[in-house]
């Protein structure tokens, strides 16, 4: 590998990261601004964080968001893992490509379309919009992400482990529960964390699926910003960034650790 420092590399690196993170850094800095004016720096303060804690509307929205994220990511993990399992395990059957394509399609589907479709469905079956419908909508769009993460782990999973479990007296479900699931657990957990963070910051689909009493945090922020950006919003956004960052880092650490362990085991096997 070429480790030599070059101006070209340094410039592209700086530009790239500036492009990605400058807006967020500015947002975080101004969340500690003492002044009420968003663009004028008037010294360091954490008072906006304090005020945020007193704002009942924001706290309510945060509570709704958290509930939605936990419920939908859990549902999505169950469904997504099942889908991944079937697609990887069932082998070749007629329409397999179609099925796997249909599972991954929501990844590239415009959110507006997904949201609108969900809205039409909820109206046509007469489902009252509220927290329940947001959970359903979020489950729909996050389960394909879970499915991608879990199936990439299942592809490298040694099928004879399951056969050994069956051979030793497990029912197919018991084999999945006591052998497959513990081994693919890291992938399932990182799938859950991914679904959780996706649900946490979703705005578009929530807009379509939400009812009058179920405003999520991103929706609340979006509507407040239309009346002008307040430092309180900056503080809130900073908090959300930290939650999402922690989630993503945890997810990648979990999967990285499992990969490292798998590799260590393989090396140990190769040595002997």
């Amino acid at each position: 590998m070429n480790r030599r420092f070059s101006w070209f590399n340094a410039t592209s690196l700086t530009l790239g990261f500036a492009f990605l993170y400058l807006p967020m850094i500015i947002l975080i800095i101004f969340s500690f601004n003492a002044s009420k004016l968003v663009t004028v720096w008037a010294g360091f303060s954490t008072k906006w964080y304090g005020e945020l804690l007193g704002n009942q509307a924001f706290l309510d929205a945060a509570w709704v968001t958290l509930k939605v994220a936990v419920l939908s990511s859990t549902l999505a993990t169950v469904l997504g893992t099942m889908a991944a399992y079937v697609l990887v395990r069932a082998g070749r059957f007629a329409g397999r490509t179609l099925f796997s394509g249909m599972i991954y399609a929501p990844l590239v589907m415009p959110e507006v379309i997904t949201g609108l479709a969900m809205l039409l469905l909820f109206i046509s079956i007469g489902l009252d919009r509220g927290v329940g419908t947001i959970v359903l909508a979020h489950t729909t769009f996050t389960m394909c992400y879970v499915s991608v993460v879990v199936s990439s782990r299942l592809v490298t999973f040694d099928k004879s482990l399951e056969e050994a479990a069956l051979d030793l007296g497990c029912t197919p479900f018991d084999a999945f529960r006591s052998v497959t699931l513990p081994i693919i657990a890291p992938a399932v957990i990182s799938g859950w964390l991914l679904a959780f963070t996706l649900s946490l910051d979703d705005l578009v689909i929530s807009q379509f699926a939400a009812g009058p009493s179920s405003t999520t945090l991103p929706m609340k922020i979006f509507s407040s910003v239309r009346l002008g950006v307040s430092p309180e919003i900056n503080a809130l956004s900073t908090l959300m960034i930290s939650v999402v960052t922690v989630g993503v880092i945890t997810a990648s650490l979990v999967s990285k650790r499992s990969i490292a362990r798998q590799r260590a085991e393989e090396q140990a096997a190769a040595r002997t």
């Binding site: 004879s160 056969e163 051979d167 030793l168 052998v179 096997a269």
Partner: protein
């Protein structure tokens, strides 16, 4: 396995009253258009150590997976103890399998791996620890009970897999290339260990292997397979000494195959004309052969003697020149060119030091063998 003379010979396959443990009746297995098992009929008896031998893709693994319940026959029936096992799922079968990759559960300790099947059986909970300890003793892994599979060596893993598959005391143990991942030395030790354990537990073993030496070492009977068919099922010595076809003769060990036309010379003696101006080869065949039939004469290199003087009183003597010598330490193989450019291999045990060897490259030599040393094969 060779049996000592003072013990009754273990040969249930020769006893017409003996009921087989496993019976394949006209079993065919197709994967789409591909015929993996082709109308196969076979009996395997209790306490046998039965080896399925063949090149990859010959159907031996499919046969084993049908016994374990991972594949179902397309047609025909498989009986285990007289019961058709087709409708029985793998978790309800009285068979256990040792996988090629061992398939040890990486998240469980050695102890829990061995206990895995017992916890899912009828065994009372308080009896399980004793059984696990017994299994650990059997494979000499008492000290490693608390380790995870990735913390032990390949040979130890292989023994854990064996212990795990034996723990439930199955009627039938299936071993899928069990020693494939071990190096040669360890493999040989383990082969004897396997035979020992098989004798101790009295379990019927069916082993799949592509290693002919392994099959010969461990098995009571060897089945040589090709393209989903049984070519020959017999004891190791009979497979080696009296192969029924060129395929078997060639697959097991080293062999010289000489083509020629057979002429009957006596009860079971035949003269084989194999080259212009050369004396016919005298051989024996138990099957009657029509005059002038094209046959293959198969003879093992170690049954061919090599000498620099013409030997007296041998039924077959062929002249040639040494074209190559392979020195393998314990034995030497001489490749001798005879009439028509044909090569015949002769193998000699190196009883004396190499420096004392009196035959060398380009020497004129005489190859000789008796008229019962080789077999005459029709196919």
């Amino acid at each position: 396995m060779a049996q000592p003379a003072n013990r009754p010979v273990f040969a249930p396959w020769n006893d017409p009253n003996e009921k087989p443990l496993i019976r394949f009746q006209n079993v065919t297995k197709k994967f789409g258009e591909f015929v993996a098992i082709d109308d196969l009929t076979l009996d395997i008896f209790r306490r046998e150590f039965f080896a399925l031998l063949g090149p990859s893709g010959c159907g031996k693994t499919t046969l084993m997976r049908m016994l374990a319940g991972f594949e179902a026959p397309t047609s025909g029936t498989i009986l285990l103890d007289g019961v058709d096992i087709a409708p029985i799922p793998p978790n309800k079968r009285a068979t256990n399998m040792m996988f090629q990759s061992y398939a040890l559960f990486p998240h469980l300790t050695v102890w829990d791996n061995i206990a895995f099947g017992l916890k899912r059986s009828d065994m009372a909970k308080d009896k399980i620890p004793a059984r696990v300890e017994e299994m650990l003793r059997l494979v000499r892994l008492e000290k490693f009970a608390k380790r995870k599979p990735h913390q032990i060596s390949g040979g130890q893993r292989q023994r854990v897999a064996l212990a795990r598959s034996l723990a439930k005391a199955p009627k039938l143990l299936l071993l899928d290339e069990p020693l494939g991942a071990l190096d040669k030395k360890l493999r040989q030790d383990t082969q004897f260990e396997l035979m020992d354990i098989q004798e101790k537990t009295g379990t019927t073993f069916v082993i799949v292997t592509h290693d002919q030496e392994e099959a010969m070492t461990v098995a009571s009977r060897v089945a040589v397979m090709d393209h989903g068919k049984m070519i020959q099922v017999d004891t190791p010595d009979r497979i080696y000494e009296t192969p029924n076809s060129v395929y078997v003769a060639d697959f097991i060990g080293d062999v010289n195959i000489i083509e020629g036309r057979a002429v009957r010379k006596g009860d079971d003696k035949y003269a084989i004309a194999w080259a212009e101006g050369q004396p016919d080869i005298l051989g024996t065949s138990s099957a009657a052969i029509d005059q002038g039939t094209r046959v293959h004469f198969a003879i093992r290199p170690e049954k061919v003697a090599i000498a620099s003087e013409r030997p007296e009183g041998r039924a077959n003597v062929i002249e040639g020149t040494v074209s190559d010598i392979a020195y393998l330490g314990n034995i030497s193989t001489y490749k001798v060119e005879v009439a028509g450019g044909r090569m015949i291999k002769a193998q000699v045990a190196n009883e004396r030091r190499l420096a004392r060897r009196d035959i060398t490259w380009d020497d004129k030599v005489f190859l000789s063998f008796t008229d019962t040393a080789g077999v005459v094969l029709l196919k």
